[in-house]
Structure formats: structure tokens, C-alpha cells
């Protein structure tokens, strides 16, 4: 068992050139009570405990190249969130290694701080890095103007719509200054129309501010529309079942036959045949 000695992914000196994240042979098991939120620790459990344990990831290997957008698709329970927390250094694998450049997490729920204005929420990482307030605000405001958030700088989170909150959360993630962005179902809680809007927005935002991105989603279409490559995970335990290269020009249209073909391919990998996934 090659267990990481320090919390978080190991530093990246031994990396393949041009590679931002590499996950090799990673397994992660939780004791069941941890999932219920009762226990403070999330330590791995021994083999005798399997009846009471949930394996989130089983022998998962994947990599992300610098500047690449990797989408990880799968139904709930496939360990997507665990994967991102491993990359961000919030957890350590039981087995296997995770190597990554510094990564910032954009959580499923925006987790904006209710006591800060939108621009102060976006600038949180800069304030943590001890930048003076005025400078932090100026940098966040500049991104607000660029990314269609101008006019909302002083709004409090509760005054913003769900889509706007996700935009602010994304700017906060960008301003962390980390080369890798881990987006955890960023649009999962939005209605279909807002989600479509936000997918276009994210594609444009990443064109302006290119980063390495790991996008976790349960929306196969979203993955095909946005990603350079799609990894399909299956649940219980989470494991990779397919990998699709998406070599289509951008911007991509939902109705493009090449997009729908790739979508069907991913759905088949998930065990959902033609027709079933069309709804």
C-alpha cells in the first residue's frame, strides 16, 4: 500500500512534461458513518470492515494535460466529488498516488459568504493572500467587467440569482491564482435554460482566462459541449469505464450530429442505450 505521507497531492517535480494532474491507481473507501457526517475523521478502513464501508473510488487512473478541459461524467455515487477533493488535497488516497499542480475547488453549492458583497466574495483568495482590500477589489472588479458581472459588485449573495451566484463562485476560483480549477457540478442546481446559458458563459470565460480544468458533471451533453476529453465513471465503486476524445471545433452546438453522436457513445458507456438517453 503506497499511502501518501503528507496531506494533499504530492508536489509535481516528477511529472510528465505538460501534465497538470495525474491520478494513478487510486482507491478510496469511507466508513459508512463518515458519510452520514457523524464522524470527524475520514480515515481508510481495513478489509474486515467492508460491510460497513463504502468504496468511493476503485483503481481510478486519469490525467489532465496543461490547458486541457477534462470532463468527468457519471451518475451520483461514482466518487466524482471524492476525486476532486483528492486533486485539491482535501483528502488522501488509501491506495495509489495523486499528483497535481495546485488546484482550487469550485464546490457544488456556491458557498458564497453571506456577509460579503459579490466582489468581496470573488476576491476572497486575494484577501487570504493578504492583498490590501482596495487592490483585491480592483482585481475582482476587472474580472467582473470582463465576464458580464459588472453592476453586481456590491450586491449581497442573497440578492443574486442562482446563475449569478455560480458566476461569482467561478471568479472566486479563478482568482485563487491556481493553475488547476476543479469544478464540481457547477451548474447542477440550475434550471435547464440558465444552465445552457451558463455553459456558453463558462466556455467564453475559459477562452479569456485559460486554465487547466477538471469539470465534474452528471450531464453528458454538458461534458461533450465543453470538454477536450471526457472520462466516464460508473458508480459503486467509482471506476473509469470509457474515455472519449472530443476533437470538435468551438463553439459547439447541441444539435451538431457529431455532438449527439459522442453523447450517445458516453451514454452507452454508462449503460444507457440509444433512445433511453434521448429524453
Amino acid at each position: 500500500m503506497s499511502q501518501g505521507l503528507r496531506a494533499g497531492p504530492q508536489p509535481f517535480e516528477t511529472a510528465v512534461p505538460g501534465r497538470a494532474v495525474s491520478v494513478s491507481g487510486v482507491s478510496r473507501t469511507y466508513a459508512q458513518r463518515d458519510r452520514a457526517g457523524g464522524g470527524a475523521t475520514q480515515g481508510g478502513v481495513t478489509k474486515g470492515d467492508t460491510a460497513r464501508a463504502v468504496q468511493a473510488l476503485a483503481d481510478v487512473s486519469l490525467h489532465v494535460d496543461r490547458g486541457e478541459l477534462l470532463a468527468v461524467v457519471g451518475p451520483s455515487g461514482c466518487g466524482k466529488t471524492t476525486l476532486l477533493e483528492l486533486i485539491c488535497g482535501l483528502q488522501t488516497p488509501d491506495v495509489g498516488t495523486v499528483r497535481s499542480e495546485p488546484a482550487a475547488l469550485m464546490p457544488q453549492h456556491d458557498l458564497l459568504l453571506g456577509w460579503l458583497s459579490a466582489v468581496d466574495n470573488a476576491a476572497l483568495a486575494l484577501r487570504i493572500a493578504r492583498l490590501p482590500r482596495a487592490q483585491a477589489r480592483a482585481r475582482a472588479s476587472a474580472l467582473f467587467a470582463e465576464l458580464g458581472l459588472d453592476g453586481f459588485e456590491t450586491a449581497r449573495p442573497y440578492e443574486l440569482s442562482g446563475g449569478m451566484r455560480q458566476r461569482v463562485a467561478f471568479v472566486r476560483t479563478l482568482l485563487s491564482g491556481k493553475p488547476v480549477l476543479c469544478l464540481d457540478e457547477p451548474f447542477g442546481a440550475l434550471d435547464a435554460i440558465t444552465r445552457a446559458e451558463m455553459q456558453g458563459w463558462l466556455a467564453r470565460a475559459l477562452q479569456r482566462e485559460p486554465r487547466t480544468v477538471v469539470l465534474v458533471t452528471h450531464d453528458v451533453e454538458e461534458a461533450v459541449l465543453l470538454a477536450d476529453r471526457v472520462v466516464v465513471l460508473c458508480p459503486r465503486p467509482g471506476r473509469t469505464v470509457a474515455e472519449l476524445e472530443i476533437e470538435l471545433p468551438r463553439p459547439r452546438a447541441r444539435t451538431d450530429p457529431a455532438v449527439t453522436a459522442l453523447r450517445e457513445q458516453a451514454l452507452i458507456a454508462l449503460g444507457l442505450g440509444l433512445g433511453l438517453g434521448a429524453a
Binding site: C88, G89, L90, A103, A104, L105, P107, H109, L111, L113, G114, W115, L124, A125, R127, I128, A129, R156, Y158, E159, R172, S176
Partner: protein, 260 residues
């Protein structure tokens, strides 16, 4: 202005109805006025003794404000210390609870022995009576912060102190302010207990002492007049804190009917 009038009208009407019923009850001979004076007699006593009551009020108000300040500071500091140290929590929390059972009369003598006849022992008494709700609400508020929010701050490389400053402290502030409001409500009666349980040498000894001496000299109307001043003072303090809360934690007073 009109909206404000509409806002306080129910309280004014209720007070008027209660005073009217009280007046009728006494006037119709339901009770000896020496036992329960009629509101008009209390109002007259208030008017005649305005100077005396004002001097005593200033003493009591100073005690309440400073005593509450001491209670809020010590209560908040203890809560933060307990939040950071599980050991201190186990060591100090039971005793903080127990301290609430100590009758002030029991400790009044040593307090005066240590700190004399001045204001300080009275502040200690008020703080002792008021600090507990601040500790309890602040400890709970600090513990109730969303753990995912702390996780997020970790991914942004926040130190323990920064997690406290950016997430835990503001998240706990509304709860701490609720504790402060409870403390304030008992702070005025705390001043009464402080005055009547510790000795004073000045010419005016506060409204609590005034009430006790009127009680002993059968000056019922003045005793009730002094009580009325305490009654109004407690209300004024409460609303002063509500105003301060709007300044300190504006996000908690969001407009009603918002979607979230």
C-alpha cells in the same frame, strides 16, 4: 415617520389599556393605594421627584452600560477561547454554568472587600449575571458554521486564523448578538441586584437603592416611579442594540420576502 408611528402604536395602546385597567382597579377600591399606588399617583411622584430620579438614573445607567460591556467582552472572549480549545471547553464550561447558580449576596462581601464601595464590584455583579447567554450563543454560533465553507477556505489556503476571521466570526455574530440581547434584558435587573447587594458611599446610589429605601419608608408611588424608569430604560437599551445590530451584521436584516 408615519410608518414608525404605526410600528410603535400597538405597544403604546397596550400600555394605555393596562394603565387604564390598573387605574380603575385602584380607584374602585380593589386594593389599598399604600400597597399598590394608582398610575396617576405614580405619574405625580415621577414629576415631583424628577431631579432625584434623574441623578439616580445616571448612576444606574452607567452601571448597566459598563457592566454589560464587561459581560459582552468577557462572554465573547470566553466563547472564542472555548471554541479554539476543546480542553478549555471541558474545563470551563461546567463552571460557567455553575456560576449562574451562585447567589450574588454570597459573593457580595468579598467583592466589596477586594474592590471597595465604588462602581467596579457592581460591574462585576452585572457581568456575572449577564455573561452566560453571550457565552452559550456565541459558542453555538461558532460551531454552527457550514463545514463545507471551511473546506472551501482550506482550498484557498486560508490559515486557521483566516478561517475564523472570514467565516466563523461573521457566521457567529448574529447568534452572539442574540445572546447580547438576552444579556441586556437581564442587565437592568442585574444592576438592581448589584446596587442592593453591595455598599455605596456617594450621595446617590442608583435607582435600585432608591427603590429599596422607598420600600422601607412606605413611599410606594416613588418606588413605582423609579421602577417605571427602569422599565423604559430596558426597552431603550434593547432597541439601541437592535440598531447596532443593523450596523454590525447588516446581512441578517435582509428585506423580507426574498427568494432564499
Amino acid at each position: 415617520m408615519r410608518r414608525r408611528a404605526a410600528h410603535i402604536l400597538p405597544a403604546v395602546l397596550l400600555a394605555a389599556a393596562a394603565l387604564g385597567a390598573w387605574e380603575l382597579y385602584v380607584d374602585l377600591g380593589g386594593v389599598d393605594p399604600a400597597v399598590l399606588p394608582a398610575p396617576h399617583a405614580v405619574a405625580a411622584a415621577l414629576w415631583e421627584n424628577a431631579g432625584l430620579l434623574w441623578q439616580n438614573f445616571k448612576i444606574t445607567a452607567e452601571e448597566v452600560v459598563l457592566g454589560l460591556g464587561l459581560a459582552l467582552l468577557s462572554g465573547f472572549a470566553l466563547a472564542v477561547a472555548i471554541h479554539f480549545s476543546p480542553l478549555l471547553r471541558r474545563a470551563a464550561y461546567p463552571h460557567a454554568v455553575g456560576s449562574q447558580a451562585v447567589p450574588i449576596a454570597v459573593i457580595a462581601a468579598p467583592l466589596v472587600f477586594w474592590w471597595g464601595f465604588g462602581i467596579f464590584p457592581k460591574l462585576v455583579v452585572i457581568a456575572l449575571i449577564c455573561f452566560f447567554p453571550v457565552v452559550v450563543t456565541t459558542v453555538d454560533g461558532l460551531a454552527a458554521v457550514d463545514p463545507d465553507q471551511l473546506k472551501l477556505l482550506r482550498t484557498l489556503d486560508a490559515s486557521r486564523w483566516q478561517a475564523f476571521r472570514f467565516a466563523e466570526l461573521p457566521a457567529a455574530l448574529p447568534a452572539a448578538l442574540s445572546g447580547a440581547r438576552i444579556a441586556l434584558a437581564v442587565g437592568v435587573i442585574g444592576a438592581f441586584i448589584a446596587e442592593t447587594s453591595t455598599a455605596t458611599t456617594g450621595p446617590y446610589a442608583g435607582l435600585g437603592r432608591e427603590i429599596m429605601s422607598d420600600l422601607n419608608s412606605l413611599q410606594a408611588p416613588r418606588e413605582y416611579a423609579a421602577t417605571a424608569v427602569l422599565f423604559v430604560f430596558a426597552i431603550a437599551c434593547f432597541y439601541a442594540l437592535t440598531l447596532a445590530e443593523r450596523r454590525l451584521a447588516p446581512w441578517t436584516t435582509r428585506p423580507t420576502g426574498d427568494p432564499r
